[in-house]
């Protein structure tokens, strides 16, 4: 390993390579910041250019773009409440409220710093523990996925701060939306209403743009007409430094979020969006003052961003060791590896060790570059929201249309986006948060596949109980789900009891 590391360090610090890495990160951030342009698409566009590069350099560029794009998603999430990539859903929960308070730079610097920490954590885990953790990925079969999705749905309890009933309704609506299109098992057509484009189902990014972004733009316009104070940003001195000092006092939060992100990343099929949502949920659970979440706290942003960037490293674990991509962007990197003649597996760490370690170490430095860009860029990017709503609103709408079309080159997606936008605006007025809806949409397919596949396995082995309730990881997930559901209930019961006692003593 050590001689490979020397070769790798030489490659990474080759000035030309490093320049390519930095450009890759910058390009990734821009792609990530624009809703509808995803890390996956950016990587696919890059692949032909990497044919002619030597493998080390090619992988450095691809790694840089991947890291940059996942971070870039937070910019739109924080400034205009629209996740630039699905990974940034959880970032909107506290990122945008911070912007509303005039603290956009606080949020952006928090995102840059925690993304950097999370990303480096993920890369180090990838570097040191890949063979060990690859086995974890294989332990996840259909029943585990089913219980993972059930556990994921318990996050609704955290997301629906106002009314649990509305949160559950939103979640159910999201799961229902996810069933549109061809059934993954059985191949039946569901809810397509004669539009054969709907065979493909509802694209998550289209729904995200609709539910998060359009209502916000409409509110922006509303505020202008009602002469409420609109969202502004005033540059302050020393924000970046003080935010980072504050974050450094929360090592547990950053570490926990990074571990969660990395672990979720290792499970193939569960991407950065789930990683960040789970991490946000746990940050709320362990916080002393739960009520500050959702109102604009840097803790919420840090939890989401550390997790989704740590997921990058995690998603590459099963890819490099087993050839199974943990997430869509990782699938493109697998393709690039194959075209370079590199085959995932143990060989990658021995015969091709020089190239592989170049890639892994470059991921660490990609995160450093990303942090530097985010650190110095935040105050400039934050000024974007000072634009007059007259300019900002149409520009955002323009981007939403482009974004929702670009994702699948499908005009119907634009109509769906506008429709969801209007639904989102009306339901927001009625107190529904878009979070649970999108959570349902993300977890619905995992839940359905896991359930039906497990039932088929149960049918073959002759025991449903055995398949669902006797596997160790499943048991852990079942316990976690139960805890997740009952703890808030107990807490509120206690609060109610105390209130009653308090009432008695004062009487």
């Amino acid at each position: 390993m050590s001689e490979h590391l020397m070769v790798a360090l030489g490659n990474v610090f080759d000035p030309v390579n490093f320049l390519f890495l930095a450009v890759g990160v910058a390009a990734g951030i821009i792609v990530g910041a624009l809703p509808g342009l995803t890390a996956t698409m950016a990587l696919a566009l890059l692949v032909p250019f990497t044919f002619t590069m030597e493998p080390g350099m090619a992988l450095m560029v691809l790694g840089g773009v991947y890291v940059g794009a996942i971070y870039g998603g937070c910019i739109a999430a924080i400034l205009i409440n629209t996740p630039g990539t699905p990974s940034a859903i959880a970032t909107t929960f506290d990122g945008y409220p911070l912007t509303k308070k005039g603290k956009a730079e606080h949020a952006l610097v928090t995102a840059a710093f925690s993304s950097g920490i999370g990303g480096i954590f993920g890369a180090i885990v990838l570097l040191l523990l890949t063979p060990l953790l690859a086995e974890v990925a294989l332990k996840f079969g259909p029943p585990e996925y089913f219980w993972l999705a059930v556990f994921g749905l318990t996050i609704i309890a955290t997301l629906s701060t106002g009314s649990m009933l509305k949160g559950l309704m939103g979640g159910a609506f999201g799961v229902l939306l996810s069933t549109i299109g061809i059934a993954p098992i059985g191949g039946d057509m569901r809810f397509t209403f004669g539009f054969h484009q709907l065979q493909a189902g509802v694209e998550l990014i289209v729904a995200l743009i609709g539910f998060f972004c359009i209502p916000e733009v409409l509110l922006m316009v509303e505020r202008k007409f009602n002469r409420y104070g609109s969202v502004t940003y005033k540059p302050q001195k020393g924000v970046a430094k003080s935010v980072i000092l504050e974050l450094l006092r929360k090592p547990v939060l950053l570490l926990r979020s990074s571990v969660i992100g990395c672990f979720v990343g290792i499970v193939p099929g569960a991407g950065g969006n789930i990683a960040a949502l789970v991490s946000y949920n746990e940050a709320v659970r362990f916080a002393k003052n739960k009520s500050k979440f959702g109102t604009g706290t840097i803790d919420g942003v840090a939890a989401a961003e550390a997790a989704n960037n740590s997921e990058v490293g995690g998603s590459l674990v099963p890819l490099l060791s087993l050839g199974i991509p943990g997430a869509a962007p990782a699938a493109v990197i697998l393709g690039a590896l194959m075209l370079q003649g590199l085959r995932p597996g143990p060989e990658l760490f021995s015969v091709f060790g020089g190239i592989t370690y170049t890639f892994l170490i470059s991921l660490i430095f990609a995160n450093v570059v990303m942090f530097v860009l985010g650190f110095y860029g935040s105050r400039h990017i934050a000024r974007l929201i000072n634009l007059s709503p007259n300019l900002l609103a149409p520009m955002i709408v323009f981007l939403t249309v482009i974004g929702s079309f670009a994702i699948r080159n499908n005009m119907l997606d634009v109509s769906i986006m506008v429709f969801f936008g209007l639904v989102g605006y009306l339901t927001k007025k009625m107190g529904f948060h878009p979070g649970p809806i999108c959570l349902g949409l993300i977890l619905g397919p995992i839940l359905e596949n896991g359930l039906v596949q497990s039932m088929l396995l149960g049918k073959a082995t002759g025991s449903m109980f055995h398949v669902f309730f006797t596997r160790p990881i499943s048991m852990v997930l079942i316990v976690l789900s139960l805890v997740s559901v009952t703890l808030p209930a107990i807490a509120s019961l206690r609060a109610w009891n105390q209130e009653r006692k308090g009432g008695v003593s004062t009487a």
């Binding site: 910041a33 044919f51 697998l334 596949q453």
Partner: protein, 328 residues
């Protein structure tokens, strides 16, 4: 404001990267029609990063060289390709919109779905350049060492052995059904949403066997026992694996990749495209890469491709009718 425009400008730049960096090369010796005179859109009806995409990306620079025009790759994923193909058949048949086609997908979807949005015969094939035979594999520590033992077990305890595959009414599913029909055994087919989750479930021991694509089998061959493969003759990359035909089961199973154009496209235009794709298909460097990755290079021209698709359609229609008759 200026910043915002800056971001937009860079966004446009990123998008135009798609145009690629092919050389403007020699004109092909095109008779009669003046084609191509502008960039050609090459649609992949799957997500970026899949095998169809990688294949197109491999061809892109060569196509640009041979056709003397830019080739722009776009994606229209969904419905296992159906969304893209229903767009293809409604496009102007001027040769500037071509699409990757996959067999058996383009046959099975219209056959099994009420409204797939297109019909198989609407797609005009230009060439087929790659085959991926489907093989049956069990894990290294499985008790079954041969297809014979596997089938015997499937007869003894019908429905107790799970076979993982990708998709319902897909190549893998049909291969399972065909094997059941020819052998009289019964298995439990468990569909996954793609090759990656399918392999993950198999390598993790959650399903006992898989029908897998040859490239995946080649890649993971040291972790599995491959019992039989669906190619006509022995597969170059796996010379020790017997074919189903050798073992007495008259079936072939394969996923073939090619390219097609909308119905009514001028034959002269098809000929020009065909020539370019055939030159790539016969390129030795391209063929060597494919073999190393676990594919079987093919070079079927437009007429051969059409004949092949029609033959497969007849075969699959028979399977479907039997399924309907059996009440499945």
């Amino acid at each position: 404001m200026r910043k915002a425009f800056g971001i937009l400008a860079v966004a446009v730049f990123v998008l135009t990267l798609a145009v690629g960096c092919g050389q403007q090369g020699q004109e092909s010796t095109a008779p009669k029609v003046d084609y191509p005179t502008k960039p050609i859109t090459y649609m992949i009806p799957f997500n970026p990063g899949g095998q169809s995409d990688l294949e197109a990306r491999r061809q892109q620079p060569l196509l640009e060289e041979f056709l003397g025009q830019k080739v722009i790759i776009t994606y229209k994923a969904g419905g296992g390709g159906a969304v893209g193909w229903s767009e293809l058949v409604n496009k102007k048949p001027d040769g500037y919109f071509i699409s990757g086609i996959n067999i058996p997908h383009i046959i099975l979807q219209p056959l099994f779905r009420e409204d797939a949005g297109y019909k198989t015969e609407q797609i005009k094939p230009v060439a087929i350049f790659q085959a991926t035979p489907i093989g049956l594999a069990v894990s290294k520590d499985s008790p079954y060492d041969s297809l014979e033992e596997f089938i015997a077990a499937g007869k003894e305890k019908p429905g107790s052995i799970t076979i993982g595959g990708s998709g319902t009414y897909s190549g893998h599913h049909l291969a399972t059904l065909q094997l059941e029909k020819l052998s009289g055994a019964k298995f439990e087919y468990v569909p996954f949403t793609g090759a990656a989750p399918q392999l993950q479930a198999f390598l993790g021991g959650h399903v006992e066997a898989i029908f897998g694509n040859s490239n995946d089998l080649v890649q993971h061959q040291d972790k599995m026992k491959i019992l039989a493969i669906g190619s006509q003759e022995r597969f170059t990359a796996l010379p020790d694996v017997p074919t189903f035909i050798e073992l007495g089961y008259d079936m072939t199973a394969s996923i073939d990749r090619g390219v097609g154009v909308p119905p009514g496209t001028d034959d002269e235009i098809v000929k020009i495209l065909e020539e370019a794709f055939m030159r790539i298909a016969n390129n030795e460097a391209v063929q060597e890469q494919m073999v190393a990755e676990g594919f079987e290079p093919r070079a079927m021209n437009a007429a051969e491709s059409l004949e092949y698709i029609q033959a497969k359609t007849v075969e699959y229609t028979a399977v479907m009718e039997e399924l309907r008759a059996a009440g499945q």
